[in-house]
């Protein structure tokens, strides 16, 4: 706690008074593969402002309480997708979650790694399986016909079809909140289907048939049980379940 005081002591005295500090506890599920056989909880007392991000709080723990705390982060404003965590039981980006939304003065914030992927250390999980299923859906534009000298023409409405799915930042909040993914990692998962959606509904893409075939496999869309956890978890507000349903329909009408 001494360090926390140091932090505030640099600010002008007047400001210090004007600013109500919340005294909160952060309970973090820690795991060090080189020392621990099992994950364990550790609690830190932190002073935070209501408007601070949970990521600020976690940084505070790392910088002034326990340097070994490990997690991913980069952009600090919800665009890079690094810091998906289970905060108070819900998948969220730590940098897009404010303290005041998850804790009151004297309250506790619990932070755990996202589920369904192997925990490597503390809040950091192995992302390889996630990116493997991303790569399995041919996540790239395919159009082998000769390109025109300028752009390919696409109407505003056609471009709008991709608006939601192309918003994805691959943070894995959705996939790691899906109950089907938890029990069976072979399910491609909502994030990959969102990515597939982006290309299936791109009027310029020529590989629609192949993409639908991938979605039609037993690791694809038919695994989805419309649980909606994914939609609720997405920090970019992508209506994921709706997009998955659109892909299901596309597969169905395509094959019929």
């Amino acid at each position: 706690m001494t360090q926390t005081q140091h932090e505030t002591s640099t600010a002008p005295a007047a400001a210090q008074q004007a600013l109500p500090m919340l005294h909160i506890k952060v309970k973090i599920l820690r795991f060090d593969p080189e020392k621990d056989r099992k994950a364990h909880w550790e609690t830190y007392a932190i002073d935070a402002q209501a408007g601070d991000r949970v990521l600020d709080v976690i940084n505070e723990v790392k910088w002034y309480h326990d340097h070994s705390l490990t997690f991913r982060r980069s952009c600090m404003h919800g665009i890079c997708g690094s810091d998906a965590m289970l905060i108070n039981g819900r998948n969220r980006l730590a940098c897009k979650t404010l303290v005041r939304d998850v804790a009151k003065d004297g309250g506790t914030i619990t932070v755990e790694p996202i589920r369904g992927l192997k925990v490597e250390k503390d809040l950091l999980v192995d992302m390889e399986p996630f990116f493997d299923s991303y790569k399995a859906i041919m996540p790239y534009f395919i159009n082998e016909s000769p390109a025109p000298a300028a752009e390919r023409i696409q109407s505003e409405e056609e471009a709008e079809r991709m608006a939601q799915s192309s918003n994805c930042i691959l943070c894995a909040c959705c996939t790691t909140s899906c109950p089907i993914f938890w029990v069976n990692g072979s399910y491609l998962g909502p994030a990959s289907i969102v990515q597939a959606h982006r290309f299936i509904f791109d009027s310029r893409d020529e590989a629609t048939q192949q993409r639908l075939n991938i979605m039609n496999q037993n690791t694809g869309v038919w695994r989805c049980r419309t649980a909606y956890n994914c939609t609720e978890a997405c920090p970019r507000d992508i209506p994921i379940t709706q997009l998955i349903e659109e892909v299901k329909r596309a597969v169905m009408y395509q094959q019929a």
Partner: protein, 583 residues
């Protein structure tokens, strides 16, 4: 462990991915090393757009774009680079579209374009629609599209590998050394050509729009070899970052009619730029805001911000065209731009300077045409000097794709012609020494405090307004911080995912960048573009129409040697005479 590739790309942002893609097209083996998963790179944060004279909305020509770039850069821009850029960017944008980038569209189905600060028609007559955009997430779409294409090409990625050293001997680059976060293992990468594209270093400042990971690693590594960094004094502060957080509020918010107001509600830009008011260039608006704050007319708890007022705009405009920033204001400040004033303050945003390169991306070893064979650089971390003393909005994404592509092409061409050079005897020695040093410090100092002091003092002393005494003070502060840095200690002994080790290492890199910036800024006794000195308040073309080259003094730690490089005042077919920069 040792790896061998013809071409190695360091960094997987827009510049790195573009370079990797075009190198791979050149029939050589390519690997890309990045300390982040590629889609986590900060290119994804860019909102506004990428400028190219397509003329989809209004008549436009590359000459006009070239002129705007040169004038925007306060004539420190190399005009040959500006000419290559303004021509190439047109094809590059079409190529991005052919890669599937989901651009917003015009009613005719072409790539949509909009106005942006400093982009004009007929050499400054009126604003022109030049910025090609994909909603307000152009950078995100560029990053995703380029990564997707690399997946398609099968580029080999080494993700979460931190490059710690460049292997340069006898003026020839032979590869790099990298630290694998997952295992703690040190890897040697043997290569014929290396392309550096590791992004900016905005984290040396307290308030910044840059990611926590933008710490200038490769600039510092280059600089530690006694090689020069160019134009480090030119650092752009974006006028509108969310107060305290520094999260960027796009220039488009003023383009749509947003008004800056001080504590009494006065539209203060009327005093600083009577004709174009809130739409003045970035450096001017930033300085005006800071003046208001310094004179006690700021808003907020610490009176260190001003308000941006959108309340007079219709709700549809705010929630439609400015959706992203509306979301940011609501998420982070709990404020609704529809009815609340949003507090903003200038935020450290973009490095105009960096590793000097020629037009093909080849890294320069001095100001007289010397170069490092086999070493290329592109992106924010490089300085072809396209942006001169001040970058125009949308020209950075353009820089990434144009010069990333060129670096890729020329590196592959070079790699096809040469054999693998020999590796130095003990390639990992310096890296191991560095880590040993970090692990064996006395541990008296907390790196987080050193970082905080650096960020605050850089903000105050080498920020938007500069003057000699402050910067002299900063030189001493940095020396002190550097000596305290010797006493940090990495307490976490683990090998796997040792993020503490990484953070401490990055702090060391940042201190170097800060040192080079401060020395370069102190040395330049004029005001130009983003570099504004109270004690030398005018532009001085007679003495200072030249690039700064800052070298680390390898014999006297903490000192910086300054050299110079000429500005290319002519393009290949066009040239623009330096004139006073008025808008």
């Amino acid at each position: 462990m040792q790896h061998r590739y013809d071409v190695l790309v360091i960094g997987a942002g827009g510049a790195g991915l573009m370079a990797a893609l075009y190198a791979a097209k050149g029939n050589v083996s390519v690997a890309c090393i990045s300390k982040l998963y590629p889609t986590r790179s900060h290119t994804g944060a860019a909102q506004g757009g990428i400028g190219a004279a397509l003329g989809n909305v209004a008549e436009d020509h590359w000459e006009w774009h070239m002129f705007d770039t040169v004038k925007g850069g306060d004539y420190l821009t190399d005009q040959d680079a500006a000419e290559v850029f303004s021509k190439d960017i047109i094809d590059a944008v079409y190529e991005l579209e052919h890669m599937g980038l989901p651009f917003s569209r015009t009613p005719e189905g072409k790539i949509a374009q909009r106005k942006f600060g400093g982009h004009t028609r007929e050499f400054g007559k009126a604003a022109v629609e030049r910025s090609c955009y994909a909603k307000d997430r152009t950078g995100h779409m560029i990053l995703q599209t380029l990564y997707q294409q690399n997946v398609k090409e099968g580029t080999k990625f080494f993700n979460e590998f931190h490059v710690t050293d460049l292997l340069i001997e006898d003026g020839r680059c032979r590869g790099v050394v990298a630290y694998e976060l997952a295992t703690g293992e040190i890897h040697t990468f043997h290569a014929k050509a290396v392309i550096l594209a590791a992004g900016g270093y905005g984290r040396i400042f307290k308030i910044t729009s840059n990611a926590l990971t933008l710490t200038g690693d490769l600039m510092s590594i280059y600089y530690r070899k006694g090689l020069p960094l160019e134009d480090m004094e030119f650092y752009q502060f974006h006028p509108t970052g969310l107060a305290k957080l520094g999260i960027l509020v796009t220039e488009g918010i003023r383009g749509e009619g947003g008004i800056l107001r001080n504590d009494s509600g006065e539209r203060f830009m009327e005093r600083y730029a009577p004709t174009i008011k809130d739409l003045a260039p970035r450096d001017i608006v930033s300085r005006s805001i800071i003046s208001e704050i310094r004179e006690g007319r700021g808003v907020g708890r610490d009176k260190d911000a001003v308000n941006i007022d959108l309340t007079h705009l219709p709700r549809e405009v705010i929630e439609g065209k400015l959706a992203e920033i509306t979301d940011l204001a609501r998420t982070y400040l709990g404020m609704d731009p529809v009815k609340d004033l949003v507090p903003v303050q200038p935020t450290a945003h973009y490095a105009m300077g960096g590793i000097p390169t020629d037009l093909n991306g080849l890294c320069l070893s001095d100001g007289n045409g010397g170069s490092i064979e086999g070493l290329y650089a592109a992106g924010e971390q490089a300085c072809v000097s396209l942006h001169g003393a001040n970058r125009l909005g949308t020209n950075s994404l353009g820089d990434l794709v144009v010069f990333g592509r060129r670096a890729g092409i020329y590196a592959a061409q070079y790699a096809r012609q040469v054999e693998f050079p020999d590796l130095p005897d003990d390639p990992q020695r310096d890296t191991k020494d560095m880590f040993d040093g970090l692990r064996s410090g006395s541990g008296k100092e907390n790196p987080a405090l050193i970082r905080k002091e650096m960020q605050e003092s850089m903000m105050n002393n080498v920020g938007i307004f500069r003057n000699g005494p402050d910067m002299e003070k900063q030189v001493e502060i940095l020396k002190e911080l550097k000596s305290r840095y010797q006493d940090v200690n990495v307490g976490d002994p683990s090998l796997r995912y040792n993020s503490e080790l990484i953070e401490v290492m990055e702090l060391g890199f940042m201190l170097d960048c800060a040192e080079a910036m401060t020395a370069s800024a102190l040395n330049r006794t004029e005001s130009r573009g983003a570099h504004d000195r109270a004690d030398y308040h005018t532009r001085d073309d007679v003495n200072w129409l030249k690039h700064t080259m800052a070298y680390k003094d390898l014999d006297r730690p903490g000192n910086v040697l300054i050299g110079y490089k000429d500005v290319a005042l002519k393009g290949f077919t066009r040239a623009f005479e330096p004139k006073a920069r008025v808008y």
